[in-house]
């Protein structure tokens, strides 16, 4: 094993930072889930649902999700290129700027400085900071890849390259706006066009921030933690290219039955259905990798995180396309079904794989073993229960909502007033809060385990040094 002067400080920094932002985002998530069934949980203008929901999604997407991706990608890239980062100091600066940026961004959202573009709410000064962050990251990662010592680009690197390129295009185009004041701007695009640009962005933000980066982790850490090689290289190639090709066509499935021209909607729906194939390419590849020796599910504790994760990815990529179909959209669009869908992806797939990757990386960096496999197993089962409870209650209440909105009396009048369709959700929304609490408890087990592993690693290192000096 080669031992280069790897810069793990930045990796550690990002992992600790993303866990910090994760806790904040999760706690806000619990609060807004309670606001859904009791308005007394809204506290004044800064802690009302309209602002907090945006803080919740952004802190978790950018703070936890992308924070973890930055850290894990720095780790992956130096391993897969067999050389240190091209600019280690730039990476350190990137870490600091990231944390300052997320803190500032969260503050602006509390203040209500929002572009009202979903998942692109940051106002223009924060957008500029995000672009700078991304460019710094891109220079370092792409530079390191270009100057790599390993000739062959491993699958994970393909996904990392696609992520870097596509996110840059998406983020810059959708955030084009004309500033009026320091924290207020107006979208460069208007009306129907604004909606089309926004959901081209919105859907692909999911694709290139929560699909391709997580697949990059999956393709590296699944073989690493099981000791089994990826089942089919050819299948990886086919899935990769068809995934990144088809994704960009699908944004309009968010705009079914809106005034967006029908041909764009239909094209979006068609490509969305096609997207099942490349998504399941990776699912099948994952299953067949483990197929050669299922005993790893028992013996290697991380295997089940990856297999559960890819299973939820598989379910997510069946459910998502079916939601795009007009007849299903007409029932579940705008209901709580959709948050149920989203959270299966974020809790069941994204967070599951990120946690497993961190479980792999932390002991590796600190040259120790995981503090407790038992606690990791407890973490796994608790978050799994929390996430399933969350999604399933939301699906049920979403169908109920959609049906109640549609139901008519024999004389053609609507059966339910709107408020009746709202209050019928309350028991489910309360169950969702409980599910959220269960999930957060599971995540606390994870945090504790990671923290104790770090402590253990530090102690062992100190003991080793003491032995050398003695």
């Amino acid at each position: 094993m080669n031992e280069y002067q790897y810069d793990y400080q930045t990796v550690k920094g990002f992992i600790v930072s993303c866990l910090f932002w994760g806790v904040i985002g999760l706690v806000i998530g619990l609060l807004i889930s309670a606001q859904m069934w009791n308005p007394n949980f809204n506290f004044g203008e800064y802690f009302s649902f309209g602002r907090l929901r945006t803080v919740h999604t952004n802190v978790l997407a950018y703070g936890l999700g992308i924070g973890a991706e930055f850290g894990i990608f720095y780790y992956l890239v130096i391993r897969l290129t067999k050389r240190p980062l091209l600019f280690p100091k730039l990476a350190r600066f990137h870490l600091w700027l990231f944390n300052v940026g997320i803190a500032l961004a969260a503050w602006t959202l509390f203040m209500g400085y929002s572009q009202n573009l979903e998942y692109a709410e940051f106002e223009w000064p924060i957008d500029i900071a995000v672009v700078i962050l991304w460019v710094i990251f891109a220079i370092n990662v792409m530079g390191t890849i270009f100057k790599r010592k390993e000739e062959e680009l491993y699958i994970s690197l393909w996904y990392i390259i696609a992520t870097i390129v596509t996110v840059a295009i998406l983020y810059i185009v959708n955030n084009l706006s004309v500033p009026a004041t320091l924290f207020k701007s107006y979208h460069l695009f208007a009306g129907v066009n604004s909606a089309n640009v926004e959901w081209w962005y919105g859907h692909n933000a999911v694709g290139f921030l929560f699909t391709t980066p997580i697949l990059a982790m999956f393709y590296y850490f699944l073989p690493k933690s099981t000791g089994l090689p990826i089942y089919s290289h050819r299948l990886s190639i086919i899935s990769f290219w068809s995934l990144i090709f088809a994704y960009l066509w699908t944004g309009a499935h968010h705009l079914v039955y809106t005034p967006l021209p029908d041909w764009i909607q239909t094209l979006g729906i068609a490509f969305t259905l096609f997207l099942i194939a490349p998504s399941w390419g990776s699912v099948v590849n994952g299953y067949f990798t483990v197929e050669s020796d299922w005993s790893v599910m028992k013996n290697k504790y991380l295997t089940k995180f990856f297999i559960a994760g890819i299973t939820f990815y598989g379910l997510q990529t069946i459910q998502g396309p079916s939601q795009g179909i007009r007849v299903i959209s007409s029932l579940i669009h705008y209901t709580d079904w959709v948050p149920g869908h989203v959270h299966m992806g974020t809790m069941g797939w994204v967070t599951m794989v990120i946690c497993a990757s961190i479980y792999y990386i932390i002991p590796h960096i600190y040259k120790t073993e995981i503090y407790s496999v038992k606690l990791a197993n407890i973490h796994f089962w608790i978050v799994l229960i929390g996430q399933l409870m969350f999604s399933i209650t939301m699906w049920i209440t979403g169908i109920q909502q959609g049906a109640m909105w549609k139901m008519t009396n024999p004389d053609g009048s609507l059966k339910y007033t709107f408020i009746e369709t709202v209050t019928a959700n309350y028991p489910y929304w309360q169950m969702r809060t409980i599910a959220g609490i269960i999930f957060v408890i599971g995540m606390l087990f994870f945090l504790y385990n990671v923290f104790m592993t770090i402590q253990k690693g530090k102690k062992e290192l100190a003991a080793k040094l003491a032995a050398v000096n003695a």
């Binding site: 606001q35 596509t166 004309v178 695009f189 208007a190 960009l248």
Partner: protein, 293 residues
């Protein structure tokens, strides 16, 4: 693993370029190309740009994140049109930067809210939604009443959007608060399309006297419906508020029925779209029971 030295998977720069082209194809067809077509930039003849007060209101609507719970697009589906009114037209959103269609209806769609209720309804409902719908989960926005409109910001916005305005309209903002602004914004939503009532009751089909007269459970059913939908305007105990009290109503039973069913433009929405005739008669029975003998 490929053994070919010229493999794409050994050439990082080429790989990056091919990946970029791959993602740009769909981007071009579904995003850039439509942008160049006129159908993406339509404008209804009746559509007017925002007034300074309305724009200030729209900015507040955005600041408070109203779109996290309210959509602004009525789908061309039977139930949507029944509940909210005519489906949304592409030409209604010409001045919307960005669009505020939203993706979740925790609260109702607002695309046709303009003119549905009198201004007072919005002032009171924004300040205390639970006074209208006891179990509503909407936060209270009473703090808007105490906040002055940020005039410099509004003017900067008007300039960026290229909306012309009169100096007296800016002068007027000085005496207004944020609640005035958001109500002004809500009251213009969807008004470039004429109001369409899907179900209304023809007066020739309505009996002179309530067919439920004397049925004991009709009053109770009427009271139940009253509590769900009517308390905001007519008071918890029907003492009157935005709408009148019932104690001294002079209307006949048929007139009451038609008023509840078809509403009164600008004062009260009609309920024929969501109450059966039986329910409306039950409400009439409830009103009758409150009438001073």
């Amino acid at each position: 693993m490929s053994e070919n030295k010229n493999s794409l998977y050994r050439k990082a720069l080429l790989f990056t370029i091919v990946a970029a082209i791959t993602v740009l194809i769909g981007t071009f067809v579904t995003m850039f190309y439509p942008m160049m077509r006129p159908e993406m930039h339509p404008k209804l003849e009746n559509l007017k740009p925002f007034t300074p007060l309305q724009l200030a209101g729209r900015d507040i609507y955005m600041r408070e994140g109203c779109m996290n719970c309210h959509t602004q697009t009525v789908r061309p589906l039977k139930a949507d049109v029944l509940r909210y009114g005519d489906y949304s037209k592409a030409g209604e959103f010409f001045y919307d930067r960005p669009h505020l269609w939203g993706s979740k209806r925790t609260g109702p769609d607002l695309a046709r809210i303009g003119g549905k209720y009198p201004d007072d309804w919005h002032y009171q409902h924004m300040a205390n939604p639970q006074a209208f719908y006891e179990k509503s989960n909407m936060p209270k926005y009473n703090f808007l009443t105490n906040k002055k409109i940020d005039i410099d910001k509004t003017v900067a916005g008007l300039k960026v959007l290229g909306i012309s305005y009169k100096p007296e309209e800016i002068e007027e903002l000085k005496s207004k608060n944020e609640m005035d602004a958001i109500v002004a914004y809500l009251q213009q939503l969807g008004t470039s399309v004429s109001r369409k009532t899907v179900i209304s009751v023809d007066e020739n089909t309505v009996e002179e006297k309530s067919p439920l007269s004397g049925k004991s459970d009709a009053v109770a059913e009427g009271q139940r419906l009253y509590k769900i939908e009517c308390v905001g305007c007519h008071g918890k105990n029907a003492e009157g508020n935005i709408g009148p009290a019932f104690a001294d109503t002079q209307r006949t039973e048929k007139e009451l029925f038609l008023l509840i069913a078809n509403g009164s433009e600008g004062a009260m929405p009609g309920y024929a779209n969501q109450f059966t005739r039986e329910k409306i008669w039950a409400l009439v029975e409830y009103v009758k029971s409150l009438k001073k003998q």
